[in-house]
Symmetry: C2
Subunit: 261 residues, 2 copies
DNA sequence: AGATATTTGTTCGTATGTATT
DNA sequence: TAATACATACGAACAAATATC
């Protein structure tokens, strides 16, 4: 009656997943360490194969382990990747009423500080990438697809900077905001009027930022980014109001399922 | 050769999960809608029971569906809850080097704006809750546990405000930061020197904030919160440097697993 | 490069548990 | 209470992938 076994109302697979997770979060366990194979886990937890597989699937979805087949395969502890975390968080905002205005409200706040903190952390490769992105966005786009690609590259410019911000929280938040905006670009028609002038303004701003980074001028980066965000904010203000945050689905085949209430 | 089926290297269960997710994200599908039962999904996707169960488990972990047994049970579409999203994101930061200084750097930035945006959105119940939290933190703590509880309630004070911020992004980010700090309080000894003076400063700040909210004085809320965050920042500066972001595990039983490299 | 061993991935049949009616 | 409808769980067998020799 007092045994923990009788108190569990949860699913067996969740219990197993929780215990493995606890082990995996304990001291000394880190990325690369391998879990016992399914057979051993089955006997250790005294559960069937399906249960173990559900537990491992749960950990896999969370990005905590990676599975592989073959000799020396199995589940291995994995550092949660940014893409995994961002995708999972994207699910949450799918159900929130998230307007582009709200996204930019956060962006105006976060991007200048994050960009300023990145000063002094850019590598030579980063600089080359930034130059390449600036140049790629400078050409007059011929097709609508090219225009879309340029908008995504403008966002990638900011991503390069955010990745170098030494504050993991701010870095993640900025990258996530850029991801949300990328999804907006991909899923919505983002060809605003006056797109020509906008592209030019972005170009000027990015060039100015690049120069400031080259000089390690934190003050100027902060100031330039603040102005840049103000401009972007204005451009976006004339866009549609409500956008449902989306993540890119990697599926192509669509299967219709019955909806039964 | 060109068929998508031949291009898939992914697991069958992932394919199924992706397709169900695509259906679930399509227009007209929302929280509460029920998925077909396992039997039907098996025949529809032409896969075995284990595969379907793994797919549903993946969606369940993401918080997108909830499972239940019994008649009219099965998988039902669910809005992703804040707790789910925060827990999954917490996994990501577990592997990041996240110092309390970094957390406060983000907090100083986000909290004043988020708090200011919440002005005008507090309910009478919110006000009562805030008063209750202020009062509960005013008493001199007798035991160390009480002191810890008070610190958690100070954070809850900020959570009440963040929940009312109409910008979902800022609201989430502030609540998540508070969660990170809660975990710090729970998992680390947070009894700083001069804790007496700190508690009093917090009390004064919270009272001032409450008054400003009562008057719908957005300016003053912003200003008071900015000062409050500066103070908290200073207090925390004298704390241990690196903290690994944690989530509360709901398991109690510990099972040691072999570590095999 | 090919064969083999190892380990996950998937299926099917069956039995049990649980909530609804 | 009993019948029903559904998820949950076990176990054995087979398929597929992959590292190693």
């Amino acid at each position: 009656m007092s045994s923990p076994l009788f108190l569990t109302r949860r699913k067996l697979s969740d219990l197993v997943a929780g215990q493995i997770k606890e082990w995996l979060m304990s001291a000394g366990i880190g990325p690369g360490d391998r879990l016992p194979q399914e057979r051993d886990l089955m006997s250790r937890f005294d559960v069937g194969k399906g249960t173990i597989r559900e537990a491992l699937k749960a950990l896999e979805v969370q990005g905590l382990v990676r599975m592989s087949t073959g000799p020396s395969g199995g589940a291995a502890v994995s550092e949660v990747r940014y893409e995994t975390a961002a995708g999972l968080l994207g699910n949450y905002f799918y159900f929130q009423e998230l307007s582009t205005e709200a996204i930019y409200e956060a962006r105006r706040l976060l991007e200048p500080v994050t960009a300023a903190l990145a000063v002094g952390h850019l590598t030579e490769e980063d600089f080359r990438r930034l130059e390449q992105l600036i140049e790629s966005c400078a050409r007059e786009p011929e097709e609508i697809d090219e225009r879309r690609r340029q908008r995504l590259e403008e966002l990638e410019f900011h991503n390069v900077l955010a990745r170098r911000c030494p504050n993991p929280l701010l870095s993640f938040q900025c990258r996530f905001i850029n991801k949300l905006l990328s999804d907006v670009v991909v899923f919505r028609k983002m060809y605003v009027p006056k797109q020509r002038r906008i592209a030019q303004e972005n170009h000027v701003a990015h060039v100015e930022l690049l120069e400031a980074y080259r000089r390690d001028d934190r003050e100027r980066v902060h100031e330039a980014m603040t102005r840049h965000m103000e401009e972007c904010s204005c451009h976006v203000a004339e866009l549609e109001a409500v956008v449902r945050a989306r993540f890119l689905s990697d599926e192509t085949v669509t299967v219709s399922l019955d909806r039964q209430k």
